[in-house]
Symmetry: C2
DNA sequence: CTGTTCTGGGCAAGACCCCTAACTAGAATC
DNA sequence: GATTCTAGTTAGGGGTCTTGCCCAGAACAG
């Protein structure tokens, strides 16, 4: 446990001030005192320390311009060169890279389309370099549209599952460009995290139905990834197919909905299939989800999943433990989730830096 | 966030001293200083406060008796009337009640056998009253061999699932006897928690095969109970039965292994069934578990599950994502898990009490 | 028996940290 | 030019932790 030192109190004060500035952008010392609940002298001392450490700076702006009489105050804000977080998404359609500052503002955003998974290796470094543009990157989060090994951050190729962006080690690619730490997770987990932030629900499941098939489980307010990060890789979960019990992914094979020569679902042609057959297979997956994880509801996301909402809902209503089905509410969910996590980690890293000295 | 007050430092010191005493039973102030890393004057002050608040007392024992020369020291320990935690297990075979003190010692233990679920209502209060025996109970944990509603603590009767101890509201029964708070969970979750403590593994699944069928999921070091506490209620999970896809519980029906007139498995006759058929059904459940939760391994517990280890292992080895299978290692797992949690909560409650003033 | 050694515990001084209260600086207003 | 009002500083007090020193008193050596 923490030792009860005077330094602890000081660092708590600094954290209060720093977090207030992250939320409030520009504040005078008097405003900071009100915001943090600390006394004016304590805030002044804390600001002095933070300026000295290079985390906070006088913005140059002064108070007046209409707010009463009184002495002019100095606005303080986070230092300009304090650093940003990099957010990367890697999906079959393209690669995105963003830089987010500690206020939560997206300061750069670069998106490059790709036609094929082989282009990822070449496009990724270019996109990242353009987005970084010389800024100081303190950490990165990466969303990849494939299973991710929790310990190494490498993409995992599960046999016969959709595998969309190719063998790739994002940590290895990013490290020379932006340094450590690099956090990699799959797009469905990030999407679920975004949904969790938006809905505030502690226990739900996110079922992603697009070119790939995936699912994420949120339990006690956090996405649970399992031992190696492969929780929710449901391609081989046995469910109800056109000809009896079938692994989920093979249902699409039997229906002729997989793109020839690849492992991906042919999204454009999903609409041609019988929605009831699809919904029955999906309902089998949902039943297993409900049985094992007991979610409050199941969120359906992905490119074609939401269009089957009604069929899925009526199939699931017939199961022994029916559960509400919803459509995902967050746009660009993987990017949003990865960005929220990057912001959270960036702020924590800066607070940590203020405690370091 | 916490305010940076002087009082915070004081309460941290007190917590250090209190937790050292919980671990060390009897310590002099000098030993406490070494143990906590605090200075002697700080420890002395803290002990003075804790004695004043009634949490700590001079044991009357004095140091000498052979340990070197030096001045005699006074041993301090937790106050005798500081309070205990009550641990209750309710299973088809009987009701157990224990009191645990903050050192982790079981100070009373009462066990009453029952022949039938209807006896629970009468036996439970008797057993608890005998175990409590006038002691001050600060909190209780209850293990029940049926699904438990996470929010109310009441037992839930899922249709056609084994239901062993009858309609019961443990919170309502215990409140008049011992007061709040009462934490109720099902026996499988407690068993998994005990296993987690013993093994230290963060992500695994616990499959319980006894009179009832259940499973618990440990993710990121904690048992995850789901929205309403019904995670892992696998009776209706569809798996491979003798005649194709069948809900898990109905496999036992088809094999004639359910006790007539009840919903329970006839444990005595499980051995008569073909182990391969059983193992295949179990393997189907394990596959779903692995797919959705990605455990590091699966622990098999319950009265008859471990005897099928070899059959289950060889069936599971054939699945697309094989996972190690182990036998549960903790004896009396539900009681052990509930007791460990009670101890943890009791200690936290005492620390909280030291901070209250 | 006496002096030495050694350990538990207390006391005093100092360093910090936070707070309140009073004060100063400086601009707007009357 | 006096008043009013706000930002920020200074001074003093209370609290907590630490270091260093001293004292009490039992065991031990001679």
């Amino acid at each position: 446990m923490t030792r009860p030192s005077q330094e602890l109190l000081r660092s708590i004060s600094d954290e209060h001030v720093l977090r207030s500035l992250m939320a409030g952008r520009k504040l005078t010392r008097a405003e900071l005192a009100v915001e943090t609940g600390l006394s004016k002298p304590t805030v002044s001392e804390s600001v002095r320390r933070l300026v000295e450490n290079g985390l906070v700076a006088d913005t140059g702006e002064r108070t007046p311009g209409g707010r009463g009489k009184g002495r002019v105050g100095s606005f303080y804000g986070l230092a300009g060169d304090i650093g940003v977080a990099l957010v990367v998404t890697i999906a079959p359609g393209g690669v995105t890279a963003e830089c987010v500052d500690a206020y939560g503002d997206v300061v750069t955003h670069v998106r490059n389309r790709i036609a094929d998974a082989v282009e990822v290796a070449a496009t990724l470094p270019l996109t990242v370099t353009e987005a970084v543009a010389g800024q100081r990157v303190l950490l990165s989060t990466v969303s990849a549209a494939d299973p991710v090994d929790r310990h190494t951050g490498r993409l995992v190729h599960l046999p016969d599952s959709p595998f969309l962006v190719g063998e790739l080690d994002p940590v290895e690619v990013l490290r020379p460009l932006v340094g450590e730490p690099v956090v990699v997770d799959n797009d469905v987990n990030w999407a679920a995290q975004a949904e969790q932030t938006a809905l505030g629900t502690s226990d739900f499941a996110y079922l992603y139905l697009g070119e790939g098939l995936g699912c994420a489980l949120v339990a006690d307010g956090e996405v649970r990834r399992g031992h190696s990060g492969l929780a929710g890789e449901i391609s081989h979960l046995v469910t109800v197919g056109p000809s009896g019990a079938t692994p989920f992914i093979e249902v699409f094979g039997e229906l002729g909905l997989r793109r020839p020569g690849t492992t991906a679902i042919d999204v454009a042609r999903v609409g041609e299939a019988d929605p009831v057959v699809l919904a029955r297979a999906i309902s089998g997956v949902v039943t297993a989800l409900v049985t094992l994880a007991d979610p409050e509801f199941v969120v359906i996301g992905g490119s074609w999943g939401p269009s089957l909402l009604d069929a899925i809902t009526s199939e699931c209503a017939r199961s022994p433990r029916p559960v509400p089905i919803r459509v995902a509410s967050v746009a660009e969910p993987s990017l949003t989730g990865a960005r929220a996590d990057a912001l959270h980690r960036l702020r924590a890293a800066l607070v940590e830096a203020s405690k370091a000295q």
